[in-house]
């Protein structure tokens, strides 16, 4: 495990996010302070409505803060324009979603290529797919692959641009336990080999054991931060 450097990748201060639904205001985040460090594997836990997805979306440039600061290295994402956020996602962030969000009309290789074609310094698509153990499935379309395979394509697609952060929203949510373990192994492998800062949000507490740090969110606030003294291997996780 690479030790956290002193310089955080993300530095979040007094972050709030308020959704206005007609007359009602929903406070999704109520003043969050958090640092994420280079190369660490973070699991964020929380019930639905705890604000974890909102936090991830803001980190990934999919949503904007209502107030507070979100520093990615020396840039405050809270002040970025829509076009700047697009560039931010394009250059620095890899996403993995619960429902994979692959492009059904493209093969595994092409689903990765669609990202590497617009990235600055990507790896080759087949290289990225080999990292997640899919070197045999390069030319299969999503419809020809299992859920676990599709999710690993999504991981390959996320890491192929050599992103600085990998953000995963319930990556095992749609998978059975055995397949989920394989996906988590892939994520951990990438994290260790490339040193990509990885944040996984989940409501599945079992996953927390493989993290460097576990952050619990509750009601829009950080309830608890816990550093694992020893990290479990994904293989030892059960749910």
């Amino acid at each position: 495990m690479p030790p956290p450097t002193s310089e955080p990748v993300f530095r979040i201060r007094r972050l709030t996010r308020v959704f206005r639904m007609g007359e009602v205001e929903i406070h999704a985040l109520r003043g969050v302070d958090l640092d994420l460090y280079q190369g660490e594997f973070v699991v964020m836990l929380g019930a639905s409505g705890s604000g974890k997805s909102t936090l991830l979306n803001i980190l990934g440039g999919l949503d904007k803060a209502t107030a507070g600061e979100v520093w990615f290295r020396d840039r405050d994402l809270a002040l970025a324009s829509e076009a700047e956020l697009t560039q931010f996602r394009r250059r620095h962030v890899g996403f993995v979603f619960q429902f994979y969000n692959l492009i059904p009309s493209l093969t595994a290789r092409e689903n990765v290529a669609i990202v590497t074609e617009i990235a600055d310094d990507p790896m080759r698509p087949d290289e990225a797919l080999a990292m997640v153990g899919l070197e045999e499935r390069l030319d299969h379309f999503p419809a020809q692959m299992s859920g676990g395979e599709q999710q690993r394509v999504a991981i390959a697609r996320a890491i192929a641009k050599n992103p600085e952060v990998l953000l995963c929203d319930e990556p095992t949510g749609a998978l059975d336990s055995a397949t989920g373990v394989r996906v988590l192994e892939a994520l951990l492998d990438v994290n260790q080999r490339l040193g990509t800062t990885t944040a996984v949000i989940t409501h599945n507490a079992a996953i927390a054991d493989m993290a460097d740090r576990v952050i619990r969110l509750s009601d829009g606030r950080i309830a608890d931060v816990h550093r694992n003294a020893t990290k479990a291997s994904p293989r030892d996780l059960h749910w």
């Binding site: 999919l62 949503d63 697009t86 560039q87 996403f95 429902f99 969000n101 692959l102 492009i103 419809a143």
Partner: protein, 787 residues
């Protein structure tokens, strides 16, 4: 309100822009249908109304001169209800403000009174004072062309003598609803006038005191025209009759009938195409729209709603859209029909216009458009029903894709991933892609169909006036004169070349088929006139027989080598059998041609001519016609270029306006189709597009994936659209064919370019609107659930 009804209203609201686009197609189809049929129906109704109110005669006869006493004998013919004699005189007019030669027809009315038959409608002023011989009425079209009003002065030359006239009023007659100079192809309102004056004054000027040279009559109920005509011919033959005839050979009525027939052809055909295309598109679009509702249908079924409830729910939704479109279409169609009717009044000088929209027309239009939409809806709803609710609620299983043909051919490596997505999407659903292409192609086709007329009219004018007739001036004589007159004309200053022609009125028969027209004798070696074969190459006139237009040959049912019975309608009224020597191609009129010498010989006369073609130095043209006018035996002078020009102006005003309406409707259909395709594609693929945005694709890059498909579809549709449009046009030209014109099927590059441009413009506009929607694509929610 029940929850399902509330859902219906909200659905309608959320689908409003697509619903409006569908309503637009319904409206355009219905509007074209209503516009065409209601305007035609109104013209017909007006024609009948005017004929009845103005007592339009049933039978007409013109002759040289007969004593008035003959009138009573004619009134005794069984079947004659009312009969009125009158004097008609060819005249020439002069206005201080107008250089060109003006010819006209002066017709007598009882001194100071309305005629009994063919009553005049006074638009302005009043009837001439019975004691004022210089007071006249003038036809409205001519008065409008020159801005004349009651009290204005003009000069008229009758029988070579100049007379000063005062306008007492401006009038319209059922005899001149289509006001055209005999022998002309098109109306020329500024150079042809009808003048009505007191009988005593006109008779004095034309040497017809106590006599008449024209009559008209109405038939008693349940009497046929034919026996009356036979009896009249018998009575009138000694008096130089040209043969009595019924309305079918009355010039205005005949042209009006043919114009209306042509309009009917168009009015029945064009809206059928429009509404047929609209129906097809509605079917496709409604089906696709309902397919996007598949999961909701599953949920409703899971709650225990029955198929019938759900089906009626969606039908109600589509019915609301159809209702909006139909109502708009009927109102717009009726409004356009009114405008169009008013425009046709430039051609058809009806004193008034009666507007009628038959409920059946509107109902039929709505039934066709609505039925097609509902059928599309039902087929999609039925497809949704076939699924068990659990399956319908799940999103459709990930579609299967494969490499496209283009890629398998090895071109694939040059494609970016987004380009691959476009190609594979198109190829994965070949039926859907084909239907989209067909839909857009049909939009292109109706644009081609509506745009073709301009090219055809120009071609028609070109053939008639540049290839077939090349004279600058045509002179017609009051009656046939000796060939010597041609030499006199040739000697006039500015005349480069003059050649005579002989035209004899005649009835052409083959068995029971007959055509009342004329034999036209031209110089065998003419430099100014040519008949053309079907390749538009000039062919020589045949010594031994008639060259006739293919259209006339078709009417008579004869071909080259067959004999035609010809009854000459002047002089000794010879009956001749003449063989058909060959067929010629003409778009206008029904000509039968032979060399002048042959015609002279058949008529047993010397080298007589009825008129002359002149080729004139342009600078001498202006002076020459004044000179020609002063010649006593000249009945009329017409200028070729002016005739073309005035016809074009007329066409621009009326026919082109119709084309413009149709173009706008076709353009709207094109837009609605393209927009709907794009909107549905957006709905179907919003998740995929949102994923691309999340992965860091810019808006423009994301739009490329969606709109690229649209552009490919549009481009692919253009060539088939041209082909289908050409097919439609061919059908339309067949539907519009009359004795008067055969509109040639000429599709110019302009027409194609304009059609393509309109559809591409519609695609651009849709793209802009869709791109705007892409801005609002919600990335987060698209990723959350699997829809």
């Amino acid at each position: 309100m029940r929850a399902l009804d509330r859902k219906l209203l909200r659905n309608l609201w959320s689908l409003r822009s697509q619903g409006l686009a569908i309503a637009l197609v319904v409206a355009c189809g219905v509007a074209t249908f209503v516009m065409s049929l209601a305007s035609l129906d109104s013209l017909r109704l007006t024609q009948q109304g005017v004929y009845k109110a103005q007592r339009f005669a049933d039978v007409f006869a013109d002759l040289k001169r007969a004593p008035e006493s003959l009138a009573d004998r004619m009134r005794e013919i069984p079947g004659v209800a009312a009969l009125e004699t009158r004097v008609r005189a060819p005249v020439r007019l002069r206005l201080d403000t107008f250089e060109d030669p003006i010819t006209g027809l002066a017709i007598s009315i009882p001194d100071g009174r309305q005629p009994e038959l063919n009553r005049l409608f006074l638009r302005a002023g009043q009837l001439p004072d019975p004691d004022r011989g210089e007071q006249v009425l003038i036809s409205e079209a001519f008065a409008e062309a020159h801005g004349l009003k009651p009290g204005d002065q003009l000069a008229m030359i009758v029988n070579g003598r100049l007379q000063r006239l005062t306008l007492a009023g401006i009038a319209l007659s059922p005899e001149f609803i289509y006001q055209i100079r005999p022998g002309d192809l098109f109306p020329d309102f500024s150079r042809y006038a009808v003048v009505w004056m007191n009988r005593s004054a006109l008779a004095a000027a034309f040497g017809m005191e106590g006599a008449f040279n024209s009559l008209s009559l109405t038939l008693s109920p349940r009497h046929e025209a034919a026996p009356v005509i036979d009896a009249l011919d018998l009575l009138l033959q000694p008096w130089g009759s040209l043969g009595a005839h019924d309305r079918n050979d009355q010039l205005s009525h005949r042209y009006l009938e043919q114009e209306l027939e042509q309009l009917e052809g168009m009015a029945r055909f064009l809206p059928m195409i429009f509404i047929g295309v609209a129906a097809f598109l509605l079917n496709v679009v409604a089906a696709r729209l309902i397919r996007t509702q598949r999961e909701q249908i599953g949920v409703l079924k899971a709650f225990g709603y029955g198929n019938l409830r759900i089906a009626s729910h969606y039908l109600a939704l589509v019915l609301a859209v159809v209702a909006i479109g139909s109502l708009t279409g009927v109102i717009a169609g009726a409004w356009l029909a009114g405008l169009l009717g008013a425009l046709y009044q430039d051609f058809f000088r009806f004193p008034w216009l009666q507007f009628r929209l038959q409920p059946a027309t509107a109902v039929l239009a709505v039934a066709i458009a609505g039925g097609a939409t509902l059928a599309g809806t039902l087929s999609a709803v039925r497809a949704a029903f076939r699924l068990p609710p659990a399956e319908a609620m799940r999103p459709e299983s990930p579609p299967r894709y494969r490499r496209t043909l283009v890629e398998r051919l090895g071109v694939g490596r040059f494609l970016s991933q987004p380009s691959r997505m476009i190609l594979r999407n198109l190829e994965r659903q070949p039926i859907k892609s084909l239907l989209s292409v067909l839909g857009i192609a049909l939009a292109v086709a109706i644009l081609v169909l509506t745009g073709f007329q301009q090219g055809s009219v120009n071609h028609m004018l070109d053939v008639q006036f540049r290839l077939a007739q090349q004279q600058d001036l045509t002179v017609t004589f009051v009656e046939p004169v000796s060939q010597r007159a041609i030499h006199e004309l040739a000697a006039l200053p500015g005349v480069r070349h003059a050649e005579g022609f002989r035209v004899a009125p005649a009835i052409l028969r083959n068995g029971h088929r007959e055509h009342r027209g004329s034999l036209q004798g031209y110089q065998a070696d003419s430099r100014l006139f040519a008949v053309l074969d079907d390749q538009l190459q000039p062919i020589p006139l045949a010594e031994g027989g008639l060259m006739m237009t293919d259209h006339l040959a078709g009417m008579l049912g004869v071909g080259p080598g067959d004999m035609v019975q010809v009854q000459i309608q002047e002089g000794r009224r010879a009956r001749l059998d003449i063989p058909v020597a060959g067929l010629v191609t003409e778009y206008v009129g029904v000509g039968a041609y032979l060399p002048q010498q042959t015609l002279n010989r058949l008529l047993r006369e010397g080298p007589a001519v009825s008129g002359a073609f002149l080729s004139v130095a342009p600078e001498a043209l202006a002076g020459l016609h004044r000179r020609l006018e002063s010649l006593p035996r000249v009945a009329g002078v017409s200028l070729r270029e002016r005739a073309i020009q005035s016809f074009r102006e007329l066409m621009d005003e009326s026919v082109m306006v119709f084309t413009l309406f149709a173009m706008a409707l076709a353009g709207s259909i094109a837009f609605a189709v393209v927009y709907n395709s794009a909107r549905i594609a957006l709905a179907e693929r919003s998740r995929e597009l949102a994923s691309l945005r999340v992965l860091g694709f810019t808006r423009a890059e994301t739009a490329y994936v969606l709109l690229g498909e649209l552009v490919v579809l549009t481009l692919a549709a253009i060539a088939p659209g041209f082909a289908i449009g050409a097919g439609f046009t061919w059908l339309l030209t067949r539907a519009m064919e009359t004795d008067l014109y055969r509109v040639p099927m000429i599709l110019t590059a302009d027409t194609f370019a304009l059609s393509a441009a309109v559809v591409l413009g519609a695609t651009m506009l849709s793209s802009l609107l869709i791109a705007n929607r892409l801005r609002r694509l919600d990335m987060v929610s698209a990723l959350k659930a699997s829809e």
